[in-house]
């Protein structure tokens, strides 16, 4: 059952009719004119989808980035990597399920690249969303990421991160265990890496909880992902004094991949399947996998100092373009 976003409603009606016709065609023996009608409606639906998605507002993109069926860490692992070996725990407190990581082999035409992959997992249904704390990492999650990054550095594995979080978890225990320090250290760990690092904002890049895994020399962003210093609702409730102004805040903060590319904050945009990644998670994952492999290819052969310098100057440069 597809769940439609508000601005996709015109499409919902079309797709319902297509599915009704198909059911009818399956039940009665296939009538040629039904096939033709289905084909006609399908084309119409595709055109409509293309036209809706061509001109999404920043707030609409935020809805797409948060879509319940949007592919998450597990989907990307399943369709763009093989041999995932999860590695758990921060060796100090717990194994945070909001931030997952491990060894994996990124699919490439020439047999794959062994990497360390780390990312936020939001979960796909109520049970898994609770398990993964909706992708909101706790200090132990960021400390696990640090541990895995350091291991990757030690053994020469490139680091790939998949960023998808509304933000780090705001809670009493998270504060007591040093949420701020864990995020700061994770950012530092990214910047210290002696191996190539490619980060991809796949859904929501929410504030410090995102930066902590995205301080890489190459930052990619899925076409409909968003990345911002605070959620549009949070920004609106502070500056406009009402969360209802979130669409205005999303616009003003320039949260889309297209805006961030222009600002020099991200390096490239990975096109999503027609109508967003949630309509074809496999194709979305394959497109991202290919983009990451291309970037890793360009970075291979660079020494530790050169990589660190490239990373540092990438961030120092940001702002001068704006």
């Amino acid at each position: 059952m597809t769940s439609y976003l508000e601005f996709e409603k015109p499409l919902a009606e079309l797709e319902r009719r297509i599915s009704e016709l198909r059911t009818a065609a399956d039940q009665d023996d296939v009538a040629v004119d039904i096939d033709a009608e289905v084909a006609r409606l399908e084309k119409k639906a595709r055109d409509q989808l293309a036209s809706i998605y061509k001109s999404l507002t920043p707030w609409q993109k935020t809805q797409v980035a948060r879509h319940p069926s949007r592919p998450h860490f597990g989907d990307y692992i399943a369709h763009a990597f093989t041999d995932f070996v999860p590695l758990g725990g921060d060796r100090a407190f717990a194994d945070d399920q909001a931030i997952i990581g491990g060894f994996a082999t990124l699919d490439t035409p020439d047999g794959g690249v062994k990497v360390m992959v780390i990312g936020h997992e939001k979960g796909n249904d109520t049970q898994s969303r609770l398990k993964h704390n909706f992708g909101m990492g706790k200090p132990e999650g960021y400390r696990k990421a640090i541990r895995l990054m350091e291991m990757a550095g030690k053994f020469g594995l490139p680091v790939v991160t998949l960023v998808d979080t509304s933000g780090a978890f705001p809670g009493v225990e998270a504060e007591e265990r040093g949420q701020a320090e864990a995020i700061a250290r994770a950012t530092e760990a990214c910047l210290n890496l002696p191996v190539p690092m490619v980060a991809a904002i796949v859904g929501e890049g929410g504030s410090g909880g995102a930066v902590a895994l995205a301080s890489a020399e190459r930052v990619l962003m899925m076409e409909n992902a968003v990345y911002s210093v605070i959620s549009p609702e949070g920004c609106a409730s502070i500056l406009w004094r009402t969360a209802e102004k979130a669409p205005e805040a999303a616009e003003a903060m320039r949260v889309t991949a297209q805006d961030l590319k222009q600002l020099g904050v991200i390096d490239s945009i990975v096109p999503e399947p027609l109508g967003g990644a949630h309509r074809d998670p496999v194709a979305a994952a394959k497109a991202l996998g290919k983009a990451i492999a291309d970037e890793l290819g360009k970075l291979s052969g660079m020494g530790a100092d050169k990589l660190r310098d490239a990373r540092a100057s990438r961030f120092l440069k940001i702002g001068s373009l704006a």
């Binding site: 504060e175 700061a184 410090g208």
Partner: protein
């Protein structure tokens, strides 16, 4: 800058617009009416309840550094890069903030000495748009660190901020990795990075340079945290523990090295610098 301002900034006393002009002031905590002159002589710490009042850069620098320090120029950055407007234009908010402040943005550096030990000191001013971290703050932080590297001395930052400056959107967020790059330069040079957390330090500032010090000092009762208390309360729907996110609470949870009273801060900084610079100076 006029020669008068330049001279004024070199005077190791409290700059004029940095502190209130009125004769009497009320302590924000115990509500006691304090004679401004006494309050100032007590380093803006309430003589009755010991509340550490919020102070700006000139005031802080005057308290911490030896006389004759040099205020470093504030780096220029692209202003209002997003053309941001909410109920007000960001440029108008900046104008208002500047009209009420002695410095062009929320972080001011000075090079000088603390009881004879060379140091570059940066001070965030909560009075300037809540001390918020935007491009100007990030750039000033980097400039302060660079100066410390050039001088071969420690960089000391006094943090005070509600977090990132939302009106600069993602560019404010990017100050988290940018300032961290600067800290790495300091570390590569083997120079100390000392953080003094003052009231309040929250959000993206806490989650970057405010938590990366070799030594982490806080002023008594300073509010220090990542998430805001209202956000946490909305998430967990429980009463927050006593003293939550206060300096003493962080100390008890192992997040900082020490809580130091303002009157002892200068001595303690000097002593910490002595230890951290001992091997370097012997070499």
């Amino acid at each position: 800058m006029s020669w008068l301002n330049r001279v004024r900034q070199r005077i190791p006393f409290v700059a004029k617009r940095d502190t209130p002009d009125n004769l009497w002031q009320k302590c924000r905590k115990c509500q006691e009416m304090l004679f401004t002159k006494d309050y100032e002589e007590n380093l803006w710490v309430c003589p009755r309840c010991d509340d550490h009042g919020r102070i700006g850069a000139d005031c802080r620098l005057g308290q911490v550094l030896d006389a004759g320090y040099e205020i470093l120029p504030s780096p220029t950055v692209k202003e209002d890069p997003l053309k941001f407007k909410d109920s007000k234009r960001y440029t108008d908010r900046l104008k208002t903030a500047r009209n009420n402040a002695p410095h062009p943005d929320a972080l001011t550096n000075a090079a000088g000495s603390i009881e004879g030990r060379k140091a570059v000191v940066g001070v965030q001013d909560f009075g300037f748009m809540g001390g918020s971290m935007g491009m100007a703050v990030g750039e000033a932080f980097i400039a302060g660190v660079d100066r410390a590297v050039t001088e071969g001395c420690p960089y000391i930052i006094f943090t005070a901020a509600g977090g990132a400056r939302m009106q600069e959107g993602i560019l404010s967020l990017m100050q988290m990795p940018r300032t961290t790059v600067a800290i790495q330069r300091l570390k590569a040079a083997g120079l100390p990075y000392i953080v003094v957390l003052t009231d309040p330090t929250t959000g993206g500032v806490t989650a970057s340079y405010a938590m990366l010090g070799d030594v982490q000092i806080a002023e008594p009762d300073a509010l220090i945290g990542f998430a805001g208390q209202r956000v946490i309360q909305d998430t967990i729907r429980e009463k927050l523990p006593e003293g939550f996110q206060r300096a003493e609470y962080l100390l008890a949870h192992g997040m900082i090295d020490m809580v130091i009273h303002r009157k002892d801060l200068r001595d303690r900084l000097a002593s910490v610098i002595d230890y951290l610079m001992a091997a370097k100076q012997a070499a």
